[in-house]
Amino acid sequence: MLEFVISKYNFWVYVILMMIGLYAMLAKRNLVKKLIGMNIFQTAIILFYVSIGVKKGPVQVPIILTEHGHVVQAIRATDYLNPLPHVLMLTAIVVSIATTGVALAVLILIYRRYQTLNEDEILALRQQRRETGA
């Protein structure tokens, strides 16, 4: 068990981080906190992916060493980190930012309409408006 924890602690970290985010998304009543939870949640996934790319040992970052356009040493796959997860995560980061941006815009609209960002207050307000409106 201990070995399992130690050899794979990257997974433990990402799971814990992800659950913090998920909890915030589901349990918090403030919409901004939910949004922050969403960011943590997405960050956890990014962490997970990036940790896939790691190789232990004498390994380079995935930039091939060149001098004046010539390769310094023979390229071996085991010498460099796996570039693919990084590529994927660059995309995922952008997606996360874009989502956050749209969510913030929506939050502004919500604030304009209800003058609050607390979900309970919003629901109460909406109920009240519905009763008076109908």
Binding site: V61, I63, T66, L90, I93, V94, I97, G101, L104, A105, I108, Y111, R112, Q115
Partner: protein
Amino acid sequence: MLTRVYDNLIVQTVCRVMIPFIQIYALYVIAHGHYSPGGGFQGGVILTAALALIFLAYGQEPAARRMNRRQASMLCAAGVAIYAGIGLYCLLAGGNFLDYSMLAPLLHVSVPRARSLGILGVEVGVGLAVMTAMYSIILDIAGNHEDESDSDPESCSTPKPGSIS
């Protein structure tokens, strides 16, 4: 409604000094993405940071004078269009979509070099798109929507009071 007064001399001066360096660095990050960590996205975000600094230090209007929302949207579209346009050119030249080797006859270079240049081209597109998109989002979210002198008079009717600033 809070009105902020943008008169902090120290901040403004530091920004004025910093911004050119930030922008140069951003261009470096984009252009040198082939050889070191970096690329269009990272460089584009740094460019946005420069614009955001202007926004923070001088306020919305001076920032919008440099680039307003309308220009930002159009440039953003242009950035994506550069990317997709390169892809489409490859398609029209007879290859598959985004097959940069089709650029080789156009540029008179070898196929691997054409691919490298193709990557550079799309990175520039990404950088432009990311910079303007982030800047546009910042203007929309953080702007107070009252000095909309730059925007389309048709599409922007009177702003609503009570928005956050």
